[in-house]
């Protein structure tokens, strides 16, 4: 436990002194605050609408998914990859950390970022509900809200662990960021091509990492009643209904990818010289 506390202190110090961390976190906070402010303003203008819990959880958590996942990946790369180019990770090992402990420190960073990017929109959103007129339904949180929270946390884990792996493999923030965003484009293109090639191939694309992330972070995958309403509207418009894989299947896929990314990063750290 003592070593975990030491690793936590070291990584916090490294992060809070880094301007890039505050710029990224500040930008995310601003983007997160916009829908909350809009929700509160709309509730003040429209007495029929309540920006309140538990109904507003999808709106509150929606800010963390997608954009939040990208920010976690980018920050993970910015906080890890330069340790190789500055050779500070190597110095940490010379000073007495093992390579495995250096890696463990970065897993702590990942956990911290996930927590930060979950808690920040939650605090902003819940703060907004306190300033908003009107009341919500019974309770503060529903089982579907918990499912969505879990889904959002997994999207952050998936993106963050991809950032951690790319940092460990490429050892430079520029190439790691480049490969990360290039992969997003490539997966999008592959998904498009395979979808046109037939239903079987389209089904396969649903299991690609960022499609898993997209589905898992989509609130409709977690709220069946809302999904039914949306599909009713789509049916009236002559559109295909939206369908999702089971949340459990998506969660297992996200956890599997994250585990692969984290193990790859660990092996790279352990086997390669610093």
């Amino acid at each position: 436990m003592k070593i975990l506390s030491i690793l936590f202190r070291i990584e916090v110090l490294k992060a809070v002194k880094r301007r890039a961390f505050w710029v990224a976190f500040g930008a995310f906070t601003v983007f997160t605050a916009i829908p909350a402010v809009e929700g509160v303003r709309y509730a003040h203008r429209n007495p029929d609408f309540a920006y309140a819990l538990p109904e507003s959880w999808p709106n509150i958590l929606g800010a963390a998914t997608g954009l939040g996942a990208l920010f976690v990946a980018v920050l993970m790369i910015l906080l890890f990859a330069p340790e190789f180019s500055w050779r500070t990770g190597r110095q940490n090992v010379i000073d007495g950390l093992s390579k495995e402990r250096l890696y463990a420190g970065k897993v702590i960073v990942l956990a911290g970022l996930i927590l930060l990017f979950m808690v920040t929109p939650a605090l902003i959103g819940v703060g907004g509900t306190l300033l908003s007129p009107g009341e919500g339904g019974p309770g503060i949180i529903r089982s579907t809200d918990l499912s969505y929270m879990g889904g959002v946390a997994l999207t952050l884990l998936l993106c963050g662990s991809a950032g951690l792996m790319l940092s460990a493999l490429l050892r430079s923030s520029g190439p790691a960021l480049g490969v990360f965003f290039l992969y997003l484009v490539v997966e999008e293109a592959v998904t498009g091509l395979m979808s046109r090639a037939g239903e079987h191939l389209q089904a396969v694309t649903e299991y690609l990492p960022f499609n898993v992330l997209e589905f898992l972070g989509d609130d409709l995958a977690h709220y069946p009643e809302e999904l039914a309403e949306v599909n009713t509207v789509r049916a009236e418009g002559g559109l295909e209904p939206r369908e999702f894989l089971d949340v459990e299947v998506l969660a297992i896929a996200a956890l599997t990818y994250s585990a692969i990314f984290l193990v790859t990063a660990f092996l790279s750290m352990r086997e390669r010289d610093l």
């Binding site: 110090l13 002194k17 110095q91 010379i94 007495g96 093992s98 086997e271």
Partner: protein, 312 residues
């Protein structure tokens, strides 16, 4: 007590035989408690790779080593808490100030804050501790690295080119700090190109060439190896040519003072007799004491020759 023991330590970069590089080739040496051990070699001779294996940043291809008697991963991790080391250029977070950089090193080493201030004072950086590392001169960076090395009051201090980038005053200060640490009984493992510094500072020395240790021992033993004589005569070209043909000569080198000849035996009468037979009469014959630099150049001559050929 053995502080460092290396047995056939080997590091090969790359897996394909054709493209792989043997950086360290079966290096074995022992550093005892209290020694100031100089580890010398030309650039690319494998010094930093060897040190990298000792401090855990480079995985050995084969061979083994122990620190303070420990050779298993858990034991080595514990042993490294008694080591202070800096490799090549000082590596710190450029966006942090000197003090915060030392806070990170101190946290890793389990050292309390007051020690940070002591070390900053010791290396003369207390006044600049609030400034960012990226604004430091190379000399200041070296001092900060030395401060980080000393944070945990280590029993073994490993310094790789600690005088790099320092002015003569800075070099003198580093030498003074090394001397103080040695007087306190610390074991010091020093890699340096500054041979006269090593000769003044070190008790023991190993010279590495192309990944292999070519000589190792006390400084006196290494300098005193071989029977060297300094010869002078009217025509030094003829003298050098004759000595190159002399069966007992192991090396012939021209210097500003004359011709320095290594002999396989101490038979000076045999030298004078041989030269007289060649019609060469000496004006000077005396035993020659080499400097460490001369020994180093002798042992790594091929590297210098290839460099000068490339340059010309």
């Amino acid at each position: 007590m053995h502080i460092i023991r290396a047995f056939d330590l080997t590091k090969r970069y790359g897996t394909r035989a054709a493209k792989s590089v043997l950086a360290v080739d079966q290096v074995s040496f022992t550093v005892e408690e209290g020694q100031v051990f100089g580890f010398l070699g030309p650039n690319g001779s494998g010094k930093t790779t060897t040190i990298g294996m000792l401090v855990g940043i480079t995985n050995p291809t084969s061979g083994a080593f122990s620190l303070f008697g420990a050779s298993d991963p858990t034991g080595l991790l514990a042993a490294r808490s008694r080591v202070g080391a800096t490799l090549e250029t000082p590596n710190f977070y450029p966006y942090m100030n000197g003090r915060d950089n030392l806070r990170i090193a101190a946290a890793v080493k389990g050292v309390e804050r007051p020690r940070i201030e002591e070390c900053l004072e010791l290396v003369g950086l207390a006044d600049r501790a609030k400034h960012r590392f990226r604004t430091y001169s190379l000399g200041m960076k070296q001092r900060l690295a030395l401060a980080a090395t000393m944070l945990n009051d280590p029993d073994l201090i490993i310094l790789d080119e600690p005088a790099n980038g320092l002015d003569p005053q800075g070099m003198r200060e580093i030498r003074e700090i090394i001397r103080i640490l040695a007087d306190r009984g610390k074991t010091i493992f020093l890699s340096s190109h500054l041979l006269w510094e090593v000769e003044r500072t070190c008790s023991h020395v190993a010279i590495v060439r192309k990944g292999r240790i070519v000589t190792c021992g006390t400084v006196e033993e290494v300098i005193g190896e071989g029977n060297l004589v300094l010869l002078r005569a009217g025509d030094e070209d003829t003298l050098a040519g004759a000595m190159e043909r002399y069966p007992e000569a192991t090396s012939v080198r021209r210097t500003d003072e004359g011709i320095v000849v290594g002999l396989s035996s101490g038979d000076l009468a045999g030298v004078t007799r041989y030269l007289a037979e060649q019609g060469i009469y000496l004006s000077h014959l005396a035993p020659h004491r080499q400097s460490l630099e001369e020994v180093f150049i002798d042992l790594t001559q091929d590297d210098f020759d290839s460099m000068t050929q490339t340059a010309s």
